[in-house]
Symmetry: C2
Subunit: 432 residues, 2 copies
């Protein structure tokens, strides 16, 4: 880790910049894949499964018997663990439901908002080295609570043509029955355009590799909505002498193992805490199966000593971390100062992995400083809020003349007329 000692303020924004990775531009490749799915439908999906996933599929959709068999192979311990996570995530996201409250803005003018589910949503669950059933919990549960009438899952098949057991079990626990063995950009294409087998959806959720990310970016031009822009995962830890160095090191490493582009930052007012954390880092690092990845990330990472806690918070707000762990004394005093973060973990016992899996909060969060403008996934992500209004005669009499003057000033005379006709109608009626 690079240790930076009390950097001057004007250097902060520069130090907060994410490193630029040399990325290939996959636009042409991904456009071609999307086009092929649009034109050839299912056939393209079978072809891509053969080319990219190295598997010859008979069917794109997971069958009932595959579901049953997969569930039987999941251990009781894992089932019990997933159930705990499920319950907590359900409870937290269910609490995000809101009741319509009618506001009488002027007498006779009632306005309110009602939530409606986005009817058709698609969840992309990456395959890769391990089955990310936790992401399925994070996306599937709020989709169900919102009441989306069509929820589909696309996830790449394994070499044996099957989907990982843990994903299959989780899908059933949530109550989703449409699962398709499709990975990569072609999955995004299938959900955007629809095929003979895969229904078209209105919004796509979920992480993925660079091809998936690029496909999600491109499909927006065809009217698709997506959960949020993507970027490498990151954690920023603010710790003082009340923090426990081995915990801080473990938290930094649990981010570092995600991938070589992960970001890890430690801010502290204590040189001692930084020193002890670095010692712990070395110790823990060497025991990790993914130590090569984690080592690379840690080498590119920064531990920054700052003069006081307020400075740490200011720095963090400039960085706008996806995950912010804050293990300091009098932490409650500092929470109001947090303005930009995806999810905040408070104290020595709130490790990121709690929120990644089972505490109940969502782990689909804004990266790459997008926490300045975006929220993480929540129940809101699966709903629209529709405004309603109902005016009475009194309402028209109260605001009608104001509308007339404003519409006339904006030179929208038909807008004015719609109000004038109603005002006259009421006047005539009341004179009768």
């Amino acid at each position: 880790m690079k240790i930076i000692n009390q950097p001057i303020r004007s250097d902060w924004p520069k130090l907060c910049e994410r490193p630029l990775f040399d990325q290939q531009d996959f636009t042409a490749t991904v456009s071609d894949i999307l086009d092929q799915v649009k034109k050839e439908g299912d056939q393209a999906l079978f072809d891509f499964a053969s080319t990219f996933d190295k598997v010859k599929l008979d069917q794109l959709q997971v069958s009932r018997s595959e579901f049953n068999q997969a569930s039987q192979r999941v251990s009781q311990d894992l089932k019990a663990a997933i159930k705990i996570a499920y319950d907590n995530i359900y409870k937290f996201h269910f609490s995000q439901k809101t009741q319509a409250e009618v506001i009488e803005t002027s007498i006779g003018v009632n306005c309110w908002r009602e939530s409606r589910a986005i009817e058709k949503v698609g969840l992309y669950i990456p395959g890769g080295s391990a089955p990310l059933f936790s992401t399925l919990l994070m996306l599937g549960i709020p989709a169900k609570i919102a009441g989306c009438s069509e929820i589909i899952v696309c996830t790449p098949p394994q070499k044996n043509g099957l989907i990982a057991d843990a994903i299959m079990y989780t899908v059933q626990l949530i109550g989703i029955d449409k699962v398709y063995k499709i990975g990569g950009a072609q999955a995004i294409g299938a959900m955007t355009y629809g095929t003979e087998t895969v229904p078209q959806v209105y919004k796509i959720f979920g992480p993925g590799n660079q091809f998936v990310t690029k496909a999600k970016e491109l499909c927006q031009v065809d009217g698709m909505a997506i959960d949020m822009p993507a970027g490498p995962s990151e954690v920023l830890v603010i710790a003082d002498d009340s923090a426990i160095p081995s915990f801080v090191a473990a938290d930094l490493l649990s981010q570092a193992e995600h991938g070589s582009d992960s970001q890890v930052i430690l801010l502290s007012t204590s040189q001692k805490l930084i020193d002890e954390t670095l010692i712990e880092l070395d110790k823990q690092l060497n025991l990790l199966p993914r130590k090569d990845i984690a080592k690379k990330v840690i080498q590119n990472s920064k531990a920054i000593l700052l003069p006081d806690m307020k400075s740490c918070l200011e720095w963090s707000n400039i960085y706008a971390p996806e995950h912010l762990i804050i293990a300091i004394e009098n932490v409650q005093d500092f929470l109001p100062l947090i303005s930009n973060a995806g999810s905040v973990f408070i104290g020595n016992y709130s490790c990121e992995s709690a929120g990644d899996y089972a505490s109940g909060t969502n782990h689909t969060l804004p990266t790459n400083a997008f926490a300045k403008q975006y929220s993480g996934v929540s129940l809101d992500s699966f709903q629209k809020k529709i405004t309603f209004q109902e005016l009475s005669e009194t309402g028209i009499l109260n605001i009608g003349p104001a509308v007339e003057i404003m519409a006339e000033t904006e030179e929208l005379i038909a807008h004015k007329n719609a109000m004038t006709l109603r005002l006259e109608y009421i006047k005539n009626k009341n004179n009768d």
Copy 2:
């Protein structure tokens, strides 16, 4: 208006498609403008004002004395009208504030969400033929309520180098002091990259012409967030024999006068209502200053006779209108059937122009069927929701083992370690 009599169900989606307009691709032009602003800053903005707005500016920012003078020129009647709108919009958007509610998902695991303002926002207010101060109310008021610390407005200068008086007055009423005389794609560029004079922002709001729309689309690649994708404005009216034909006609026309690409649809169960509305339409149309635009829109529009009210609602949900006016008997029975709409106007007295100006709801709404996935602008648009969590020892003991198993199954061993270390620490501590 094209009258369509009881079309068969399979034709509905086709009939609901928006007409495609032959649009030039402005990508290259707009990219060049954005690049020039990025490179040359203020100088580019002065140059574009001279080229596009035909005005030689001395300063980009509106001065204090310009504000004072403009306000004096606004009539007391207009000021009073704007104040009524302001109060109603403020009341409705203020009611959208939420309180953090702590959810104990498992014993010792506390999770909650807190709202934080997006710190820096930019509002684009088009100039064009008339000053759209109503849009300024719709964007500026929720930005203020959210507590955005930097709110800036860009709006094109008139030929005399000034901003329209009504906009200047409204800006002051809301309490925004940074207003810049910048229009078009260059305004979007200035807010995206920042210049010597114009601060960079995190999210851009507001309607505009095709150049502005394209610029908002392109600037997202550089990390900008925008309010929502743009499209032509539209209204769908559902009316039965309880509706008043002259009102329906006036409401259709108030949409039709917006521009030649506006969309107007009438659904009814009553041939009589359709016939009488068409007669009224002809009558009212000829009196409008913008009758040429409105006539063109009405010619391209559809009145559709359907067998029952449920069919009307189903149709409307496929179309997903920006504005839905529903003037029918027993309207309350049908509101739960509305699943896709931007804003709903209920009954004979709730004309669209009420919501466009002064009822309190927002008029920045999803067009082009985006109401299937997007909400209109609200207080939420100016905030992020940050999740927080705090676990106690008990919390760790309750969910820790589940996290360990799940992390191990996903092959994320450092994630597991972060939890294992804490579980061991607690065990050792309690054994002491």
